[in-house]
């Protein structure tokens, strides 16, 4: 079966006065129909840029400098803006972190829903309104017929994020990109939104790219997870493997640094240092200056993603490194 989304060797660059910064370097992954791919990483890892690159919303002067993005086998990264606009919202739905900024505060939410529905379908005004009502009901807004004419500020944060979910699903997209959909919400509401996102996407058969820094959310929601570091994928694999038996030293450190609810620990594992800035990404493996297991090839040679057990990992610990290279 063709994957819903294929990203091949994606490279995103930002030219600046001080030279070209590479925000995303050689990132490849697939999302199968109905699958939830979690993309996790710390700030500056490039997870949001990956999302924006897929939907073609990289702000100039940033640009996709290499690789391709395929939606159901069709290239979309080189489409003219007019055609990309038709795909966005129709075939790819989007949910962003802050529901207050993704809704227009000056329009009633009913108007925003109807507008979205009518842009992507040939429904009449009244039919679109009916559909908007059923969408609001589906995302769990109580008494939708009285709430549909409310303004975004009259909703609470959780309710707004429900409306944003309704907007994202209005045109029955094949792929939903959710960028930190629960980060701005309280834990109790966060759990509601995760459950809703999961249920809706399963019902509508949409594939999901879930971008978050919260491993807990990934563990609950995703089927597979890609761990990003300094603009590259360090490890990608089934969520259970990556969380229970991480391979890459960065993933191991990351998992160890999360305080646990279930058991006591005296000290958290700490990764020394911090994520490198884009202006100074180390050579070779970008994680080597912080890595407790770095050895000969790491500072010089960049590891590629290679299959290891049921995952793929970019780390020299798991691959024989070229002997010719070692001789240098």
């Amino acid at each position: 079966m063709t994957p819903v989304l294929s990203v091949r060797n994606l490279k995103v660059e930002f030219p600046t006065r001080r030279g070209v910064l590479t925000a995303i370097d050689d990132v490849s992954f697939d999302i199968a129909p109905g699958e939830v791919l979690g993309v996790v990483g710390e700030s500056g890892a490039g997870k949001s840029i990956t999302g924006t690159a897929v939907i073609g919303l990289i702000e100039p002067p940033g640009r996709i400098a290499g690789g391709e993005v395929l939606l159901r086998g069709q290239r979309i990264d080189n489409l003219p803006p007019e055609q990309m606009r038709k795909i966005r919202g129709k075939r790819i739905g989007m949910v962003f972190q802050d529901p207050l900024t993704s809704l227009n505060p000056l329009y009633r939410i009913g108007y925003q829903l109807v507008e979205t529905i009518r842009t992507h379908s040939s429904l009449s005004e009244s039919a679109a309104r009916k559909k908007a009502l059923s969408l609001l009901e589906e995302v769990g807004i109580p008494a939708p017929d009285t709430r549909i004419d409310a303004y975004p500020h009259q909703f609470s944060g959780g309710m707004r994020q429900r409306v944003v979910l309704a907007l994202a699903l209005a045109a029955e997209p094949e792929l939903v990109i959710a960028d930190e959909p629960t980060t701005a919400l309280d834990v109790s509401v966060q759990a509601q939104i995760i459950a809703l996102l999961k249920r809706l996407c399963a019902q509508h058969g949409a594939a999901v790219m879930l971008i978050t820094h919260d491993m807990g959310v990934i563990a609950e929601t995703a089927d597979r997870v890609a761990v990003m570091y300094a603009g590259r994928i360090a490890e990608i694999g089934p969520v259970r493997e990556v969380i229970k038996a991480p391979l890459h030293p960065y993933t191991k450190g990351l998992m160890g640094s999360i305080p646990s609810l279930a058991h006591d620990s005296d000290r958290l594992v700490q990764i020394p240092g911090s994520m490198p800035r884009l202006t100074a990404i180390p050579s070779g493996c970008p994680f080597h200056p912080r890595c407790p297991r770095a050895f000969v090839p790491c500072p010089t040679f960049r590891p590629e993603l290679q299959p290891e057990q049921s995952s793929q990992v970019a780390c020299w610990l798991y691959h024989p490194f070229p002997v010719t290279a070692a001789a240098l």
């Binding site: 109790s188 000290r267 911090s274």
Partner: protein, 345 residues
Amino acid sequence: MSVMTSAAPPLASEAARPLVEVKNLGRVFDVSKPWLNRLTEGLPRRLLTAAAEVTFSINKRETFALVGESGSGKSTVAKMVVGLIAPTTGEVIIDGVSMSDRRHDADRRRLRRRIQMVFQDPYASLNPRWRALDIVAEPLRAFGIAQSEAETAKQVGELLRLVGLDPADGTKYPHEFSGGQRQRIAIARALACNPEFIVCDEPTSALDVSVQAQILNLMRDLQDRFGLTYLFISHNLAVVRHMANRIGVMYLGRLVEVAPAREMFAKPKHPYTRMLLDAVPDLDLTGRKRKPVEGEVPNPVDPPPGCPFHPRCPFANERCRVEMPQPILTGGATVRCHAVEEGRI
């Protein structure tokens, strides 16, 4: 006293008396429209009860955590404890001295240097126009701790090293540091005047997990070394479990449960605590089915009558709808809940 000397071990009598006592603390904010609008539009005054009847105590060398969702009043309590806002009711007693009693002005001034605060956002809590070393030196100068500039510089260097920064970086400005390093500067500043009690308001929620781990480890090391007492505010239950000895759960301005950390995580009593614990995503992949949580936190301007949690509570009955539950002691925990009191749950 140099910053590098650790605190003396507490005497037996000292350990018995709590360092911080918060008694019946409450704060009401006036969120009314301006007077003329109220007059012309016939609007009543609107009062927001940010905190009410908050009572707890913190022993020396203990970490007491306040958890709750946004709007639960935890930061308001933190600010009242350090004296950044004045309480409407109740009082804060630190080391036996009431912070709201005018008669103890001199005592209070002496106490103030023993209390420090670390804020949530290290991007906003450091003056962007000051070099790191001036930021850390400010309390030393303000309280006249260091006698000379040379001594100030020496102590600043020690403080920066203590929090894991290079003293040579002291000449940099805050924007040249990462978020984690900035929070280290904020901690160094808090430690500068040798405090005993530090109020930390969400100290790691603006940080990435790996950096959060560094800061939490640092805070625990410093606590062991200097015998610090923390009031730790957070919405992250896993972080709280890692840091705290005792935990208070707040909901709509009230403490609904106070219990030793272990006990609370093993056997949460209040339905809200149970719900909070249940809502945390499960990293252990046990496949545990989570109970869907209903509803959201109500608007604190217009709280529900009776127990503020009753509209979301699966155990609510008629009494919960009309009568505010009073704190009761059960096991090691203090709980405000009719259902617990009546033995219904």
